[in-house]
């Protein structure tokens, strides 16, 4: 009984980790720009596939591959901002939805062209037997995923709270005009938010691929789940996306395990609708009007 529950719990925490990272990626960009970046899922796919490319195709050392993958993802974020966001004068909500969807389609096209339609994976980060926790069989990679997600959460917290540039980004999110008037270059903050967000997404992709494989078209589903996580926690709230991501992951896994695996993908959407009906500012949101802004 408990064993089965633990098994489902860990598998939920694993996918939940990725949802949380995608959700945080949404928030990073939303806070700096009020843009909902629907290409967020592609950043994860870029992470998984580029990691395969560097480590299994080019046979570069593990750490080098990780660094290069994160850098490539950062470059994708940078290009996206430079080519599609910066040249546009208006950041109208609907326009941005169309633009970011277009970017996601283009990215998928490039990935399909380069990698084809096969699923990819590479070896787990550490070799060795699965662990036995309370009777549940846990792959080592599961712990890597959860640990790396935890590390990302801590690093993002330190970035936003301890560095001046992070504080400046928060200031932009609170009051763009006032931020400009103390000399903060807002368009630079926007650029950084895209780079950072792409890197966070890619880290999720790097960690999860040995467990769940990666295909060129995994992005949209990941974006939907991550978006639900961000909305559930209150759009723009870092901790919210973490709680949202893990909750959705665990509920999905329990639904698939105890009810039917076909219902799994409906869970996030049901949660999304419930949150929007009952508490539109998200579970951590207090003042709906202030937080939801354009959305």
């Amino acid at each position: 009984m408990l064993t089965v529950f633990l098994q489902f719990l860990f598998s939920g925490l694993t996918v939940g980790s990725v949802y949380a990272l995608v959700g945080m990626g949404f928030n990073i960009i939303y806070n700096a720009t009020s843009i909902i970046n629907l290409a967020q899922g592609e950043f994860v796919v870029v992470g998984g596939l580029m990691m395969w490319f560097f480590s299994d195709s080019l046979h570069l050392p593990f750490i080098v591959s990780i660094c290069l993958t994160i850098l490539s993802a950062g470059l994708v974020g940078l290009l996206m901002e430079r080519l599609t966001i910066r040249p546009l004068k208006s950041h109208d909500l609907l326009l941005m939805i169309m633009v970011t969807i277009s970017v996601s389609i283009v990215l998928r096209g490039i990935l399909a062209f380069k990698f084809g339609k096969d699923p990819y994976d590479y070896p787990a980060f550490s070799e060795g037997d699965p662990l036995n926790i309370g009777g549940a069989i846990i792959q080592q990679q599961t712990l890597w995923v959860i640990g790396i997600t935890g590390l990302c959460i801590i690093l993002l917290y330190l970035f936003y709270n301890k560095t001046i540039i992070g504080k400046a980004m928060r200031a932009c999110a609170v009051d763009t005009t006032a931020a400009q008037l103390v000399g903060i270059n807002v368009s630079r903050m926007v650029m950084i938010s895209f780079v950072l967000s792409a890197m966070v997404g890619a880290i999720g992709g790097i960690a999860i691929t040995p467990i769940s494989l990666m295909e060129y078209d995994n992005g949209p589903m990941l974006a939907v789940k991550g978006f639900c996580a961000a909305i559930m926690g209150g759009l723009g709230r870092g901790r919210g996306a973490v709680i949202g991501g893990f909750s959705i992951g665990i509920l999905e896994s329990m639904t698939a395990g105890y009810l039917h695996s076909g219902l799994k993908d409906a869970v996030a959407l049901v949660i999304l609708l419930l949150v929007l009906f009952l508490k539109p500012a998200g579970i951590l949101g207090s003042s709906a009007a202030a937080r939801l802004r354009k959305f």
Partner: protein
Amino acid sequence: MLAINTIGKSFGGLIALNNVSFRVDGGSISALIGPNGAGKTTLLNIISGIFPPDIGKISFSGTTISDLPATKIARAGISRTFQQVELFGDMTVLENVMVGRYSRTRSGFISSGLRLPFVRKEERETRDRSLGILDYIGLRSRKDELASNLPLGEQRILEIGRALATEPGLLLLDEPAAGLNIRETRSLGEMIVRLRNEKKITILLVEHDMDLVMRISDRIAVLNFGEVIADGTPLEVQKNQAVISAYLGTEE
């Protein structure tokens, strides 16, 4: 120091500023007064680059700034406070001041991420200087409080502190005494004078409190319906017939 030349601005059909010219001398405390809706805030918005004027030119220390974006104007040494306080509410008092110092730091995204030694040093310096500013404005004991939790009087002082952090040569204050009691207004006046005397910051003050304005200003410009109707020393302005009727006319 600041030369405002024939500035005009309208919003739709409404003419908010019409042919406005005056100068703010370096080292002075200059005041801009006028009834509500006269266009004072609009002029400060134009000086600080929130929007450009329709016509006219503003120069600061010899260079034209009226075509620059707000960020560049701030970096050129003009800082301001707002009539409606615009602090970073869910950041602490200290963080608000530290963010003000951002434009005076060099740490980039990558160097911050790598925690290079110069970044650490710079962050320590930023913190120390920001604490120094809090000492100066008397808010050090409140440093870890959220800005939005301060009473209005302290929020206005903190906004001045954040502006000071950018190391301005010219400070624009938009009704800093609004909502303050008599005691707070008096210490605000003393602080403004100290900023000019000790920190050599030129002040352009928009204010309704005539006691305060008359007591500390070197020069006063009076705006009415978007036009400058008087410009001179406090004594000259007080005796000016156009000013008297403008104020009586609007029952201020």
